[in-house]
């Protein structure tokens, strides 16, 4: 592993994919409007919920906005990196171009996960940060060093879990060939991440913390923001993130053993 080489390659990736994305300038503009409308829509939905009840799962409207902010950031990251790259795996396998990836003198998981970048997700990340700063003000959270490190750790763990989930599902393409719709299923489950975990019934809560750990992705970082999170929860999230990353890596290497290139 040569970190310098990978950085250099990554710079090239960014350069080429930005160049090709800026071919469709109006597209980027439309995507920006979509991101803004989508955030307005989610806040509108939340306001309907809170219009009828002051608390949802023990969270007030101002507190639930933090979850919305974190969700928006993570969704932006998904749209910038995971979505354009990991949906490509399906194409690579169907058209047999995965052979070219495997032949390159570079790690195949790195190549597949970071080849492309979609600039329109950046605005979503920015919007999420704006919302978070706004929430920090209205919830009167004082920013100190331990808060900043803890929130940074939990959010990075969320990103790792999210990446692993996406990568895991995309890897199954090697057996099933067409998994676009499996990704749609994941996407609809991720929708849960917009709301506090406590607002769901017990069985759903168990499902979303043990089987698909979506609960970890947004609820724990938000609890850190409010200073509600216990230490063991943060530790658990770190462990889950590490386990997910390692398993997704193992799973990729395992799946590659079953890859027989197309039309050969």
């Amino acid at each position: 592993m040569n970190l310098r080489k990978y950085l250099k390659v990554y710079k090239k990736f960014i350069h080429t994919s930005l160049a090709s994305e800026f071919e469709y300038k109006t597209n980027i503009l439309i995507d920006l409007i979509t991101a803004i409308l989508s955030l307005i829509g989610s806040i509108f939905l939340l306001s309907i919920f809170f219009h009828n009840n002051g608390y949802i799962g023990g969270w007030t409207f101002e507190q639930a906005l933090i979850i919305q902010g974190i969700y928006t950031i993570l969704n932006g990251i998904t749209n910038t990196w995971f979505n354009p790259n990991l949906t490509e795996i399906v194409k690579h396998i169907r058209e047999g171009t995965l052979d070219f990836v495997l032949l390159k003198p570079i790690d195949s998981q790195f190549f597949i996960s970071f080849k492309k970048i979609n600039p329109s997700g950046f605005l979503e990340i920015l919007l999420g940060f704006f919302l978070l700063f706004f929430c920090i003000r209205i919830n009167q959270i004082n920013m100190n060093l331990s808060f900043l490190t803890l929130s940074l750790i939990t959010i990075s763990c969320s990103i790792c879990i999210l990446y692993s989930l996406w990568f895991f599902i995309s890897t199954t393409t090697i057996w099933f060939v067409k998994t676009w719709n499996a990704i749609e299923v994941l996407r609809s489950f991720l929708y849960i991440g917009r709301f506090p975990l406590n607002s769901f019934s017990f069985s759903l809560r168990v499902f979303f913390s043990i089987i698909i750990p979506i609960a970890f992705i947004t609820t724990i970082p938000s609890e850190v923001f409010l200073g509600l999170s216990q230490f063991w929860k943060i530790l658990l999230e770190v462990i889950v993130a590490i386990v997910f990353l390692i398993t997704s890596r193992r799973f990729w290497l395992f799946a590659l053993k079953f890859y027989s290139s197309a039309s050969s």
């Binding site: 219009h51 009828n52 849960i192």
Partner: protein, 264 residues
Amino acid sequence: MISNLINRKIFTLLKVQYSNMLEYRVEIALWAISGIIPFFMLNIWTNNNLNESINISDILLSRYFLCAFFVRQFSVVWVVFSFEEDSLMGKVSPYLIQPLNPFFRYFAQHLAEQITRFPFALIIAFFFFIFNPESIWIPNLFILILSIVSTFLSFLIQFLMQSIVACLCFWTEKASSIERLLFIPTLFLSGLLAPVVSFPVYVKSWIYLTPFPYLIDFPANLLSGNETNISAGLTMQILWILLLFPLFKKIWSKGTKKYTAMGS
């Protein structure tokens, strides 16, 4: 004679597309699963007693969201994504030569997919009733037929709207980003995530003039036995179709004149 010919065309198209869709059973099953967001929303509504203030009982609300799931299953439209791919790949040219508007082909695809999807949607509904046995009900035949009609009309509205967007491919090549923009109001205003009755007054005052509440809220209310104005709903659906159809015809004829085949 002419009507006989059209009948034969439609019948053949449907038969071909149905056997085509049967090839992708797993895909369609996964797609059906990805539509379960209404059930998550139902969970939030009933778990936090949000429905008390809008005077809808738990049972009626659970029926509403089940119907919303069904209506969504049978009104999902993806024509713009197919058309965009076909036009980017240059597949539209051979279709244009045929004495049949290519949109009939997509239309048949959608209908065939709905038929394939039906058993999976029934299985999901079956599981829903196992968990919520108290919400089982049998709508009377008249209401059932009316709601099937209105679901089909909702499908037609969405198909026309997306076909109009798809025709923009003749100008921009990538029209799917416009569709993603249009999807945001569809998602938040159609009643898929919250019944339109629960919306604040300042939204309710104008929303019934837009096509959105007639896409899911109206057919779902009709089928689930919630209060709704049947004649006004159906009239609005038909009015929107009458408005969108000439628009589609116009943009189609303009677009085909603009069209230049790729690689020629």
